[in-house]
């Protein structure tokens, strides 16, 4: 009961925040929440299930484009479009994962890298369907059951998405499924000897997290009311990986820390180094792997264990 109260309290507080933040900061806040949702699901895929995939941000894009196309071109009502979008992401994820997880070593990374690049090619060449290089814009979120959710109330939708993602992944992580994922990551042969179906565990983890990325993408579609190819490029797929590693792979708190830090860092750094914050990200990434493989959350753990 107390955990429920904590979740509800967090939801209310997080939804109320934009009313004190103002227009510009409220917008940044919503985007930060979306990055946190993505980092959480990517952490499950990479940090917990141990799969090096670059497709996560592409699935975010698939979700965003799918909901816009289904609502404004196919004329579906929004709830139906959302369901269809989730199904599309899960099916695409299965199509990528079924052959790719059979492969050894880093071939999953190569296959998903190709998938992510192919997605951009399709967006650019999709003609009227995807709007080509300019993408799709000038649409407005339809009313849901007669209620207009756009503007500040939309923050509540995103907050629910983030908390829902966090709660769902936490529940999965602390079940036999989460343990199976970690076992497959740590020692696939021993996992199989304990009765874990290694290939199926990987495929299911890939499909579930990719579908979650797709849902986050649907929420993104109505943040700026525009979707276009550059947003969903490889750069952001790398950034997501950097967030999880720098924050601490395998830990949801680490993913949140990494997402917040790397999202806010450019705002702090831009007066000093202009647009070259990516260089700092790269250096942080290399430094984290060399010096602090458990990420920032690992530093926190070490401090906590040694009482001051």
């Amino acid at each position: 009961m107390r955990t429920w109260a904590a979740w509800v309290g967090a939801a209310l507080l997080m939804s109320a925040l934009p009313f004190v933040l103002g227009e510009y900061h409220g917008d940044l806040y919503r985007k930060l929440l979306l990055w946190i949702a993505l980092a959480l699901s990517y952490n499950f895929l990479f940090g917990i299930s141990g799969q090096v995939a670059f497709s996560h941000f592409a699935f975010y894009g698939v979700g965003a484009y799918a909901v816009v196309i289904l609502v404004f071109q196919a004329g579906l009502p929004l709830p139906l479009a959302v369901l269809a979008g989730v199904a599309l992401c899960a099916l695409l994820a299965l199509a990528v994962a079924l052959p790719a997880t059979r492969l050894e070593g880093f071939y999953l990374a190569l296959a998903t890298l190709a998938f992510a690049q192919l997605f951009i090619v399709v967006l650019n060449e999709g003609g009227a369907l995807t709007g080509g290089t300019g993408g799709l814009a000038n649409y407005r979120m339809p009313k849901v059951a007669g209620v207009d959710l756009s503007g500040r109330p939309y923050t509540a939708v995103i907050v629910l998405l983030v908390l829902g993602t966090a709660a769902l992944l936490r529940r999965l992580d602390r079940s036999w499924f989460g343990r199976a994922c970690r076992a497959v990551r740590d020692n696939p042969e021993a996992a199989a000897a304990m009765g874990v179906n290694v290939a199926r565990t990987k495929v299911v983890a890939f499909a579930v997290t990719s579908a979650l990325a797709g849902v986050a993408g649907m929420a993104y579609a109505f943040v700026d009311n525009t979707v276009n190819p550059p947003i969903f490029g490889l750069e952001n797929a790398f950034l997501l990986l950097f967030m999880v590693i720098i924050g601490g792979a395998g830990r949801d708190a680490g993913a949140v820390i990494g997402a917040v830090l790397l999202y806010l860092l450019p705002f702090v750094l831009s007066p000093l180094i202009g647009h070259h914050h990516a260089l700092v990200f790269g250096v942080l990434m290399v430094a984290a792997i060399l010096l602090q493989p458990r990420g920032l959350i690992g530093i926190y753990d070490a401090l906590k264990r040694r009482p001051a």
Binding site: L110, A111, F115, F238, F242
Partner: protein
């Protein structure tokens, strides 16, 4: 027919670049098991070194090219020292250096962007602009230069692996690291040499490709993808597979652009689709390794 032969020369030239990048992957992958995502950035650095020494400082080409290759050897060695060796010595899983190299990819790219800015830089043609007719084959000097240099590199690499003690020890490490170490082969030296050589080959590919496509700080990732597509097509087992994969990929690209009834933008998708098909249907590539790699 004339049209096709001209296309064949230019396809062969781009295929050679892909082949060189694939060879650079192979040089690192075989002895270490590491997929080095930063290889495209090495090629990009090679292209910018070409701009700096040949285009900006106007060094003579042979001198400039030699200096660039030397620099690339050092860069590869330094990359290994910084991002790979500390992790290997610590006994970290193979994933750790792969991710560190992914970080290095961003470091290389952004450093070049800081130093040279976001605009493409022209790299001069070493032999000028002319066209060469070799019997029925017609192509630019640069295309023939790319083909000639690549042929020389692959012959050298083949001789190295087949005929020298050093090459044999590379193969021994590729087949079984532990056994090779027991035979007295210095694993860390083999790793260092493989990174230096991979960097030099990738840098050479960048230098050769740059006059046609200009040096640009974002050129690395597309080259990296084309390179490992060539590698996957040819198979990681043999040196000549890299060249075969590169040539097949380039011909597939050029032929679809020229003859297939699809929008030209979709031609960028050709290597990606080929890569996915090969990963699914034939993940070990067209050429088999002489011996299976031990687990």
């Amino acid at each position: 027919m004339q049209d096709f032969l001209e296309l064949a020369v230019s396809a062969a030239a781009s295929g050679c670049i892909y082949g060189l990048i694939a060879l650079a992957y192979l040089l690192v992958l075989r002895p270490t098991g590491i997929i080095n995502f930063a290889i495209g950035e090495w090629a990009m650095v090679g292209a910018f070194a070409g701009y700096l020494l040949l285009g900006y400082l106007h060094w003579r080409y042979p001198l400039g090219a030699a200096a660039i290759l030397l620099f690339m050897l050092l860069l590869g060695w330094a990359t290994e020292r910084i991002a790979v060796r500390p992790l290997v010595e610590r006994g970290a899983p193979l994933l750790a250096p792969v991710l560190a190299l992914l970080g290095m990819l961003v470091v290389f790219r952004e450093s070049i962007s800081v130093l040279f800015g976001p605009d493409p830089r022209q790299v001069p043609y070493p032999l000028g602009f002319g066209r060469l007719e070799l019997g029925p084959l017609v192509g630019s000097y640069q295309n023939f230069l790319m083909i000639g240099v690549t042929a020389a590199v692959f012959i050298a690499a083949w001789l190295f692996f087949e005929r020298t003690v050093w090459g044999k020890s590379f193969e021994a490490v590729a087949i079984d690291r532990r056994a090779a170490a027991l035979m007295g082969i210095d694993l860390s030296r083999v790793t260092a040499v493989s990174f230096a050589a991979g960097s030099a080959v990738a840098g050479l590919a960048g230098l050769l490709a740059a006059p046609n496509i200009s040096a640009h700080f974002l050129m690395g990732v597309p080259l990296a993808i084309q390179g490992f597509t060539a590698l996957v097509i040819g198979g990681v087992g043999r040196v000549e597979g890299a060249l075969l994969g590169g040539l097949l990929l380039a011909f597939a690209e050029e032929l679809t652009v020229r003859y297939a009834p699809i929008p030209p933008g979709y031609a960028q998708g050709v290597p990606l689709i080929l890569l996915m098909i090969f990963l699914v249907v034939r993940p070990k590539g067209l050429l088999r390794a002489p011996e299976a790699r031990a687990a």
